[in-house]
Amino acid sequence: MTATLTRPPAPSGGHVPVLRLGALGTLHWRRRAVLVCLAMLAVGLIASLLTVTVGELGIPLRELPDVLAGNGSRAQEWVLRTNRLPRLLVGALAGAAFGVAGAIFQSVTRNPLGSPDVIGLGAGAAAGAAAAALVWPGVVPVAVGALIGAGVAIGAVYVGSGRGFAAPYRMVVTGIAVGAMALAFVQLALARATHEDAFAMSAWLNGSLASRRWSDVTLMAVALLVLIPLALMLTRRLQLVEMGDDAATGLGVDPTRTRNLAVGVAVLLTAAAVTVSGPVAFVALTSPQIARRLTRSTGPGMVAAACTGATVLVVADLIAQRLPFGVQYPVGVVTAALGGVYLAILLIREWRRGAV
């Protein structure tokens, strides 16, 4: 590949280098966004190493390469391969999915609060999963149940808002109502389940990465491989739709089509992530916003949101596993606590600006 890096005069006076890929064409990217992504990945990597190495069953760092290569002790192999590695990878991949889904929804609703968890998508997926696991067990796999639940929830938002996805404010309000109904259904499912089922389910409903399997890793990896490229292809169109439907149409973007496609991608991402990790709170809400502020980008930065989401969830799970209270908390408890603080900051800022 003849990739050369040049810096021609670019739209913003030079901080947009252009990557020329010979006959393939040119892609432009922002140096700041790339640096933020690299920094995020570095933080995520450190957290990952800590996740694998710290604790009673932790594998000392210097032995890690051997264990990874398959030359460790049997106990170490077991810890790494069936316990910590799948948990870590599921966390990173689900976090990335939540991040991208959040970026899409916040762009579509033109609202930092318009994320899939606020809009009832996470709750819908949870209700679908609960139905598949507890109410009608064995009819469909839990993942399919989550997808159906997310689909029903977003369908209800589409119909309930009266104007599809074109009216952001109505979409958020309808979504909150749909989310409340979905959670009521989950409570119903829990109430009529056996004690053990209900206990397992409630841990998952908080968002938990405990005892993840390699099949979960595969599911997330396949989902991301298919869906992230689609999200990337929609990024520029979403940016233009953020300027208003008329402006976007004038520039040659069909706003309705763009929104519907993007919401479809976000629904699939959310359903996949909820299936493997439960409806982890606030990752989809906070990650894209953190990414947007750090990169100072003016649109949904999918890659930055993915990196941030992955890092946020891995770090939160590390904290959840290491909380000094004797028990292991589900990761959702940590993200909810961190997210609550973040939400308060966001609302206070908006309030000071007079926007709320």
Binding site: S12, G13, G25, D246, A247, G250, L251
Partner: protein
Amino acid sequence: MTSVTSSTSVPTHSDGTGPAAAFAEPPLRAEGLTLAYDKTVVVEDLTVSVPRESFTVIIGPNGCGKSTLLRALARTMAPRSGRVLLDGEPITALRTKQVAKRIALLPQSPIAPEAITVGDLVARGRYPHQGLLRQWSPADEVAVRDALDATEVAGLRERLVSELSGGQRQRVWLAMALAQQTDLLLLDEPTTFLDIAHQLEVMDLCAHLHEQGRTLVAVLHDINQAARYATHLIAMKGGAVVAEGAPQDVITAERMADVFGLACRVVPDPETGTPMVVPARRGGHIRHG
């Protein structure tokens, strides 16, 4: 930007009656257009043409459907029935990105993205010329620079759009539309919210763009400005076109009474000679000199 272009200085072919009009089919034409929001029909069975290389201005009272008509011409609103023809082709049969290479639109209230610079916003006007893998080319750079120069905002390129004054911001949005490099430019109330000096600045800019050979269609509230700058006027009332043609033919005292319910005199504009509407003295509310 001090030159004022009067309609009389424009070649006659541009009002659709000259010799060139014979082979110049209208670049934009609405046929039997019915437009409605939900159940409210705003425009019914309307047929109108935009003459090639004209500066067409649509006037009419609030709620007459002038902005709705412009939105339909710009395909941002789907007609309930009828069709819009772009160079004789139904606009809905064309891919929207292809249309964006031929028609640029300045909407009434576009939303400036948070923390975007002038240069980045104007660069977005290049979207219709770009593809997934061909995202920025030297041609794009030239187009953006030309658009910034034409609207005299090149010096603001690195500034944030949110920091600009209303007049500057409107010129930046115009620059974005210009970066599309289209022959047709549609403007929905481009001077609303601007003070009179900035209104005239935007109108002068539009006149200049028209002189360069573009076809402009604008919705305006100020009839006297419309008369000064337009080469072709379309007067609307209650969702129908009541008159169209050269400003001196369209703007008469009788028509203003009919369209706006306004008692007025129409006198020649002392500066340009174009028709100027002077509202009649009303009641006892006005101090006598």
